[in-house]
């Protein structure tokens, strides 16, 4: 499967990455190359092999249902370009 420029532009848009028109051909080629490698992997016979989800045999770590975090409004808002009255303030988004 190869990625054309239009698909590359769409992927970039979905990922909210601004890509110059001139950069698209190279980007499409690079993405196609990655997919080509994936296709190569697809040639491996994995019949009867369980998908590996972790390098070491581990169980998903769980936490107890207890409140142990929060109460740090100031820290949460510290990096916000704009914050007012305890809220993040962002350019108006409305349906």
């Amino acid at each position: 499967m190869s990625i054309d420029e239009e698909t590359a532009a769409k992927v970039a848009k979905l990922a909210r990455i601004a890509v110059d028109e001139e950069a698209l051909p190279a980007l499409a080629k690079e993405l196609s190359h990655i997919l080509g490698f994936m296709e190569q992997l697809n040639e491996v016979d994995i019949e009867g092999v369980e998908p590996m989800t972790s390098v070491t045999p581990m169980r998903l770590k769980r936490r107890k249902d207890m409140v142990t975090d929060g109460d740090q409004q100031e820290k949460i808002l510290k990096n916000a370009p704009d914050a007012r009255e305890g809220f993040f303030a962002v350019p108006k988004v409305v349906e």
Binding site: S54, R62, D65, T68, D69, G70, Q73, I76, V90, V93
Partner: protein
């Protein structure tokens, strides 16, 4: 199992300009999981806190922060699945659903697309006595809620509060088994009832605890049966999804509007576009959410931060062993054990705490009488008293049982019982002691009643003459005697004595 048997309700039929149409409805209900902390962080889920105060760095999408699953949320999802008689998947996994919105700081929602924790189940939705729709559940998965954007605090800015970000939701997906707006609302009501019994979701729709996306399509009569036989969706019409409704009334109105919109298009020879729509309650119409369409490419992939969620059958069995009696069973038991009507049993089992209250009252008392007193007197009185809930009732189950046993014991008449109830409600105290202290005891002493009857007869010779011609006038004498005795005379005894005296 004390299951009741039901017939399926008739589907709603809408008459179009050219022919009849039927509705096919499936719902995705988002239920906030009742836990103290969020799905993947230790921040609180408490509603109504200061903005951005219930936020951990992982909720805010800070770099390098990793999610750690809250075991309590998993247990609640399993409990809900068991309550809906659903299959529990011992292996489930989390995926990322990618989209950009200011109230989603991670840039993705962690959800369970490919391996949900709960599989197929069912809900029985009653639509009247002996009539119920069996709605199949397709799956329940765990996912994170998004934050909240407020658009009306500033003309140019939206304000974002991340307190809700990362709170656990159960998305409960039904099959398209619902056949009308009322059924859809009743289905949501039944899910809410079951989850409140289970304690897995508070079901407070105003606070956004329970929200529904509704899929609606229309078809010609007969098509739906073909779908049910084959499970082939091509027999059904194209569906539209109405997003994010948090009121039973809006759910019904939106479905009704949407069905009529689709029928009008189809009858004009048009086709329905599969799309996401928003219901506007002010205008009572649904509108296309075009912006959502473009974003629909969610690029799901397994969440690399989380291992699959594996749970043990033993753990599931422990949860199953701790399940409370559920509404269907409780209702059936109330009908069989207490001889209640279907209606009374439904009213009393609507909320678990009402049912518990009733059972305490009915313990050793007459079941039907107890049901009448709880439903008519107590609920009625609480409603008048600022719409109080049963937990705020000033009358305890023991006090109400005391009043009822005074009635059944013949100590007080039904009329006096109502006065007594009001005294207990407003002043408190032991019903039996109040009756004694205030001389409310019913007069069953026939000598005293006879004396009162004689007095009335002696005072009203004209009435006595008329009563001889018209026996119905005996009622007037009974009324006078009751009045003279302050309502305390045993009505049955008064009736007998009046009849005897007038007749003789």
């Amino acid at each position: 199992m004390l299951d009741l048997t039901y017939d399926a309700p008739k589907p709603k039929v809408i008459a179009g300009a050219k022919s009849d149409w039927e509705l096919v409805i499936g719902l995705e209900v988002h239920a906030q999981v009742a836990t103290a902390a969020k799905l993947f962080s230790g921040a609180s889920t408490r509603f109504g806190a200061e903005p951005n105060s219930n936020v951990a760095f992982v909720d805010a999408g800070m770099p390098g922060m990793l999610p750690v699953i809250n075991e309590g949320c998993v247990a609640q999802a399993v409990r809900t699945g068991l309550g809906l008689r659903a299959e529990i998947n011992l292996f489930s996994a989390f995926d990322r659903k990618n989209y950009f919105y200011p109230d989603l700081p991670q840039g993705y929602q962690i959800s369970q697309l490919y391996h949900p924790i709960v599989g197929e189940g069912e809900v029985i939705v009653e639509m009247g006595e002996g009539i119920a729709r069996r709605v199949r559940i397709e799956r329940i998965h765990l996912e994170q809620d998004a934050g909240k954007s407020i658009h009306d605090m500033d003309p140019h800015m939206s304000f974002v509060d991340l307190n809700r970000t990362g709170v656990a939701l159960m998305e409960i997906v039904s099959r398209p088994d619902i056949r009308g707006p009322e059924e859809a609302a009743a289905y949501v009501g039944k899910l809410r009832q079951i989850m409140r019994y289970l304690g897995t979701c508070d079901g407070n729709m105003q606070n956004g605890n329970l929200r529904a996306d509704v899929n609606v399509s229309v078809c010609r009569p007969g098509d739906y049966e073909k779908y049910q036989e084959t499970q082939d969706f091509s027999h059904l019409g194209t569906r539209c999804e109405i997003k994010n409704m948090n009121s039973m009334r809006f759910i019904q109105a939106a479905i009704d509007y949407e069905a009529r919109r689709q029928i009008a298009i189809r009858e004009d020879g048009g086709t329905i576009d599969q799309e996401t729509r928003l219901y506007d309650p002010d205008r009572n119409e649904t509108r296309s959410m075009r912006s959502k369409e473009e974003a629909h490419d969610y690029r799901y992939f397994p969440c690399p931060d989380l291992l699959p969620l594996e749970i043990d059958q033993g753990w599931v069995d422990d949860i199953a062993a701790g399940l409370p009696e559920l509404p269907d069973q409780k209702k059936a038991r109330f009908i069989t054990d207490f001889g209640l009507s279907d209606y009374d049993a439904s009213v009393l089992t609507a909320e678990a705490e009402n049912a518990a209250y009733f059972e305490e009252v009915a313990d050793g008392a007459d079941g039907k009488l107890a049901a009448n007193w709880v439903i008519n007197e107590l609920f009625g009185r609480l409603k008048k008293d600022d719409d109080k809930g049963i937990s705020e009732s000033p009358v305890s189950p023991a006090q109400l049982r005391g009043i009822i046993s005074l009635i059944t014991g013949g100590d007080i008449s039904g009329k006096i019982a109502k006065d007594l109830f009001e005294i207990v409600y407003t002043e408190g105290g032991d019903p039996a002691e109040i009756v004694t202290a205030r001389g409310m005891k019913q007069v069953t002493d026939t000598g005293a009643i006879e004396a009162a009857v004689d007095q009335i007869i002696a005072d009203n010779p004209a009435q006595v003459e008329k009563a001889k011609v018209n026996p119905k006038l005996a009622g007037w004498f009974v009324g006078q005697v009751m009045k003279a005795t302050g309502g305390k005379a045993n009505p049955k005894a008064v009736n007998e004595i009046v009849a005897k005296k007038l007749g003789g």
